[in-house]
């Protein structure tokens, strides 16, 4: 009996509209988009401020609107690195060299913000991993 009761309670929880995995509302979509946009906005702030470097140089000085970053082509072979590299590795290359800063972890919230901003500016361009 007890096992049945648990199953029923669990079933009720799973079937309630708020928790069905395959159901979401327009409000949910708006919230998720808002979360993304706020992270991309943070990325834009970092992109234009030079805050991740030490010499005042900002990403936007060479990459206005994140142009010439080609996020749709990653992962791709970078001959100078001698391997197939991900976008965050190239962001770190720029942080270390032109910005004379310290590399960020791949899952550092600042790196997530950078990548979110780069992809937002490249919206609509077809994925073409490996392209040079």
């Amino acid at each position: 009996m007890r096992r049945y009761a648990i199953a029923l309670v669990l079933g009720a929880v799973l079937l309630s509209p708020a928790t069905r995995a395959d159901e979401f509302t327009a409000a949910d979509v708006d919230r998720w988009q808002g979360e993304f946009d706020s992270v991309a906005k943070k990325g834009r702030e970092l992109w234009t401020s030079g805050a991740v470097g030490t010499n005042g140089v900002a990403c936007a000085q060479c990459h206005p609107n994140a142009a010439n970053t080609h996020p749709e082509t990653y992962p791709k072979f970078q001959k100078q690195l001698g391997k197939v590299a991900q976008l965050f590795e190239m962001v770190n290359w720029c942080i270390r060299n032109p910005l004379q800063g310290t590399a960020l972890a791949a899952d550092d919230p600042k790196m997530t913000a950078f990548v979110a901003y780069i992809y937002k500016e490249r919206k609509g361009v077809p994925i073409d991993a490996g392209k040079h």
Partner: protein, 357 residues
Amino acid sequence: MSRLITRRSVIAAGAAAGTLTTLPISMVRLAFGGTREDFSFTYISDSHIQQIKGASFVRNWDMGLKRAVAEANLILPEADFVMFGGDLAQLGKKDELDHGAEMLSHLKGKLHCVMGEHDYYLDLGEYWSKLYGPHWYSFDHKGVHFVVLNSIITTDEWTFHRWPTAEQRMLEMAGLDNPNGSPFMVGEKQRAWLKDDLDKVSKDTPLIVFSHSPLQKIYKGWNFWTDDAEQVQALLQPFKTVSVIYGHVHQIQYNQIGNISFNAVMATAWPWPYPDTYAQAGAHVPVLTVPMNRADPFFERDATGWQMIDVNSGRVTARYQLWDNQERVVGYDPKLGKPVDKRYQEAIVRKAPQLHY
């Protein structure tokens, strides 16, 4: 034939027991009529000297300007004069302008300077003027009339009434893609001066105009743009032979509009993407332009450089000295009536790195 000795050829010659290798100074050389003679000048632009703190400056940008000055001084035969195309400083600071001016002071020959927005918006060009004189002016050289414009001014409202401090005004204009910026213009006062200046010049005299921003409309979002470009062009069109040379865009561009040929010059600091590669905006990069190579981020000086400009028969031939790429030569083709790249103009001969996306 005149021969051009470059730093690269000097280095190459070092291994060859002092035999200097030489390059032809121009691919197309036309005889000047009358009393004019062929000559050349060097063009260095967009150095963006950037102060970190005190006597510490961004090394990368310093290296670009130092290298351009050193190479320009090694050119033989010597150029008649040197142009600097604007944006000597990054944020218009006295320390930045002084540091850049110290490097430019090593140049051989007379120097003429163009005002860039990065030189201007902190003190509206006051300190720059102490170093380099008036914001716009003209001069004559060997039968060619040269005009230097300040094309980066904007509305009085934006300049005088929008920002709480001069520092913030400078920062807002310094961000190329900053939506808080404002479109550049030559302005009514300067256009009136230009009209007066040109009224005194015969329409047969070759005319070369220097501006910082393009005197044509390419992409407003990055100020690859001059708002009153058409009105300025109208003053230039009556001349038979007109060239406009501009900086600001940090890339090879060229175009022909009526009688006016346009050439952009490279930056010594860093390259910019072609605006039509920005996926969220439309742009009007001249279809005539064969782009420079895509920059390789692993080479600090790639897609930067400086120029030798030959003035033969009053027409401009720009020889782009590209530090990690083969030189590009863009000159006016009298048969086609427009500037062309001497090697890569036809689509079939272009190289893969010239494709931008």
